[in-house]
Symmetry: C2
Subunit: 251 residues, 2 copies
């Protein structure tokens, strides 16, 4: 029986990403965290701060994956519409979440108290639970298999911290990187033959240009450490046999 | 009559982005470039190096936008399957493009010549034209409204250079940023009221935490410079009236 692979998708919500103003950091951050949970990030969509665009992405991805994450749009200002958009997409009303309000009351007690704007951050789709945020008070939100996180990367990170180890997953993907000062086109045949000879291993080739020289890192990925090790050893040996000097760990 | 808005979508192709190994830089780079062409980046999808995943994204996005860009997967190695995936999605055969072969012949003349692997980079969907790449030889590919670019950011950038000014677009979005050392929740009402009072302007609020202090940048976007200027002046005045010290250009 094939091993079950747990997958996740991510919807990055934000005009600031699509305008190029802000360099997204949540895709890479979530990808690394998910892999540690034994879950594979399989698709990402970046959508603008528009109700229908958010809703369409959520309705396409939530049923297709074990987990769906979103980042962005859960603050106190008028452009923070993620909760409304996801509730609408799921056909749920938006409610004031008593526990979220209590968290905000405590957090803002010595910061001017909870205002109408801050209360926006206590609104959730009906039936949601909260994702603790030790960093800045306002919690993330879980509704079904959807995890609604902040857009600011270090707050999203705090929310992921509180989810660590709590989601069911499978085996982690492990990887090994071998670098080489070579034009990838010179050893393309070797990479393909090595991948074909090692079931359950994928090899990616990532060229780079540094100090006026051309090189590439070859990343082998597998859910099986033993297979990975054998594949990496074979690739290293094959590169050396052609006269190159493979660098374990990459360049 | 409403002004026509030209839109584009981007498909980022690559396991290395979804694994978190590589921090994507093409989304922000393309977004900024598109805006200079008068085109808005409206949606991004990140998909793995899997034929069907690439094809599904291309078939969903190409008909929905004026332009579709892809990055990644056009090199000489076995994991470079973008051309095959897009050709399959469009129902087109893959052919050896004579002009692309001539470019590769010239580029590799003093680098060992064109090999079978390098010839992979001369393959295109039938009927495609080429996008010149002054940086590293192998061209990008245009087929219909689809622009197939390299994944390495500085090569993608070289391909964009050769497209600059050649795509039809509308008015550029202009933006103004006003920074303020304030918790955005304290002035959420003011932001919303200012946006409502200025048709054709959107205000985004982007909080940050620096040197132990909380601040936010407010980004006003519009297709109309005059409206933008008035909106920015009003927001600046409104913040000052509340006792804050707005910083033109952002913090």
């Amino acid at each position: 029986m094939a091993e079950r692979i747990w997958t996740a998708a991510l919807v990055v919500i934000g005009d600031e990403i699509l305008s190029g103003r802000t360099q997204d950091k949540n895709i890479a951050q979530l990808a690394v965290w998910l892999n540690l949970q034994g879950i594979r990030l399989s698709e990402v969509r970046v959508v603008p701060d528009v109700m229908d665009a958010i809703g369409a992405a959520v309705n396409a991805l939530a049923p297709a994956h074990d987990y769906l994450f979103t980042t962005g749009g859960i603050g106190p200002t008028h452009d923070d519409i993620t909760v409304d958009a996801i509730a609408a997409a799921l056909g749920l009303p938006v409610v004031a979440h008593p526990q979220a309000k209590a968290i905000l009351d405590a957090y803002y007690a010595d910061k001017g108290g909870v205002t109408e704007a801050r209360l926006r951050m206590a609104r959730t789709p009906e039936g949601a639970s909260l994702i603790v945020n030790e960093r800045s008070g306002a919690p993330g939100i879980r509704i079904g298999n959807i995890f609604i996180l902040a857009g600011v990367p270090h707050i999203a990170s705090a929310m992921l911290d509180s989810l660590t180890g709590k989601l069911e997953g499978g085996r982690r993907l492990v990887s090994a990187t071998i670098g080489c000062w070579v034009q990838e086109s010179e050893i393309a045949d070797l990479l393909e033959a090595t991948e074909k000879a090692h079931d359950g291993c994928q090899i990616g080739s990532y060229p780079f240009f540094r100090d006026g020289r051309t090189g590439a890192n070859f990343v082998i990925r597998s859910a099986d450490q033993a297979r990975l090790d054998v594949c990496a050893a074979d690739l290293t040996e094959a590169l050396a046999a052609r006269g190159y000097a493979p660098v374990a760990g990459g360049i």
